[in-house]
Amino acid sequence: MSNPPLTGEARLAQLAQSKAARKRKDRIVEGILLMAACVSVFTTLAIVYILVKESVLFFTHVPLWDFLTDTQWTPLFDDAHFGISVLLAGTISSSMVALLIAVPLGTIIAIYLSEFAGHKTREILKPILELLSGIPTIIYGFFALLVVTPLLQMVMPELPTFNILSAGLVMGIMIIPYVSSLSEDAMRAVPMSLREGSYALGATRFQTATRVVVPAALSGIASAYILGISRAVGETMILAVAAGMQPNLTLNPLQSAATVTSFIVQVALGDLPHASIGYQTIFAAGLTLILLTLSFNLLGYWLRRKFREAY
């Protein structure tokens, strides 16, 4: 150090100065962190802005009434029809198949892991099950098309190569961990004293699980189902690969059909000029999709509030 150490007033002034500098730096850092936190808000705003902007352009060409009531979906033909119900039918039937798999299996697995399985079994089985949700969905699509569909065709020879059933089945298995993990968390959060009370009255495990734990955890289980539904509705690649992309107004899972999501993929795979009606269509489809998942999320939020049991 070339400077002699400061003493008295000068030293105090120097300390005050460095403190002020630190404070200033802290404020700058806080500003930067705040900006980072706002990125997620901007993302939401941008999603809403982009979807609404392009959809408004779309609805200047296509009346909302036609969009909701037309029974044909042929946006890229000369005789264009824009009936979203065709795509929604595909989304609904595939989600139904998936939920028919995921909800019963997921609930049984959750009850089993939370109430029946020992500590060791749970520690081993749970991560294996969660691998199911870690596998990229394109690989599930591949699996549905090349393994599940041929297997189903052995039983039902008239099943087309592209069908909702096999896509929905595989999607259901993919969703199992979402349903089971959240349900299990809800069940494990039920206080031990309730179980002890039930066992003390002589109830078996099965009775305790179905009549005490499940009702007490109902709000959590319901929101797990809702999450499963919104996963199924938003799932894209399995359907795009295995369900075919033919718009088809049917709820029959044995046929091929397009969904809201797989239609977007189909259009994106083609070469559509920017600002054409076809280009705007996928944003209208996207807006429909996000309104659908948003309403499910709100429903889940409401269910959690309404049926929450406080202990």
Binding site: S40, I47, P127, I128
Partner: protein, 309 residues
């Protein structure tokens, strides 16, 4: 006397039948688990049987080709690597910074409430919607085109909620006394964060980052939506090479393909020879994502074991 014996017997029968339900449900639970596990086994078996013979070193160094036997994944894995690099570069700083802000700086008011609700909601938005966002915003409004930069930023926005949530959990697990001790020594908020909270929360933060990236590397839908080409027989330009020499950042704006898109492309062809290619590429992708997940689980395990406050 006879009646008591009788009612005892009846009681035993009731208990037996109730206990039987316990056993039945236990078996049912195992059966339900085995559906999931068997699916995993079948998935892997199919990928290994169909794909393993194709996994030669040529497969990793060849470009996609019209002839299935000569096709490879070099453009796909290079593309995936570069896209992940952009994603990580954007998502990690922004995600960690938002988490620190929300956990350590933010006062409880309507604005932070909005940010929190918003993050929860973003986590539930289907991935294809991010693709539409990217198509409208990055590709056309910002003019980034169908490039590595667009794809990387899209996936970064997609995994941002995952990183934020796990970083917040990691920060929350650090006991209050660490902060109090540092403040008592006169540290500012940022000094507390950068010198204590971030290093101590590192395993948790890394877990979130790895899980986020493993999700991003398998995402297909948003990348298809921005219109990434599926037949790419060249690599992005290496900086300062070629004729004329490529700029430092030219690769960011280069067309690209990624592993999941290559798999999609091969799956949607009718020729079974291409399906073998898809199986092989799927095997590579799945091993990659699962080993990333395993690393995350291992990190979490180490975190639990070594850290005792």
């Amino acid at each position: 006397m006879n009646q008591t014996v009788n009612s005892k017997e009846r009681l035993r029968a009731i208990i037996r039948s109730r206990k039987r339900w316990d056993v039945i449900f236990g078996i049912l639970g195992l059966l339900a688990m085995s559906v999931g596990i068997l699916t995993l086994v079948a998935l892997f078996a199919q990928m290994i049987i169909d794909g393993l013979p194709r996994l030669t070193s040529d497969f990793f160094t060849n470009f996609p080709s019209r002839r299935a036997g000569q096709a490879g994944i070099v453009s796909a894995w290079v593309g995936s690597l570069l896209v992940m690099f952009v994603t990580a570069l954007f998502a990690i700083p922004v995600g960690v910074a938002s988490a620190i802000y929300l956990e350590e700086y933010a006062r409880k008011n309507w604005f932070t409430d909005i940010i929190e609700i918003n993050i929860t909601n973003l986590a539930g938005v289907p991935s294809i919607v991010y693709g539409l966002l990217a198509l409208g915003l990055f590709v056309y409004t910002f003019g980034f085109g169908q490039s590595i930069l667009s794809a990387g930023l899209t996936l970064a926005l997609l995994i941002l909620p995952i990183i934020i949530v796990s970083t917040r959990e990691a920060l929350r697990a650090i006991p209050q006394m660490v902060r109090e001790g540092a403040y008592a020594c006169g540290a500012t908020k940022w000094q507390v964060c950068s010198d204590h909270l971030i290093p101590y929360g590192m395993p948790g933060i890394l877990t979130g980052v790895i899980i986020g990236l493993s999700r991003a590397i398998g995402e297909t839908a948003p990348i298809i939506t921005i219109g990434a080409l599926t037949f790419i027989a060249f690599l992005p330009p290496v900086p300062f090479t070629g004729e004329p020499a490529a700029g430092m950042f030219d690769w960011l704006f280069s067309p690209f393909t990624v592993m999941p898109i290559q798999i999609f492309n091969w799956t949607s062809r009718p020729d079974p020879a291409f399906h073998a290619n898809a199986a092989a590429a799927s095997l590579v992708l799945v091993v990659l994502t699962l080993s990333m997940n395993a690393t995350a689980i291992w990190l979490r395990y180490r975190l639990r074991k070594n850290l005792k406050w």
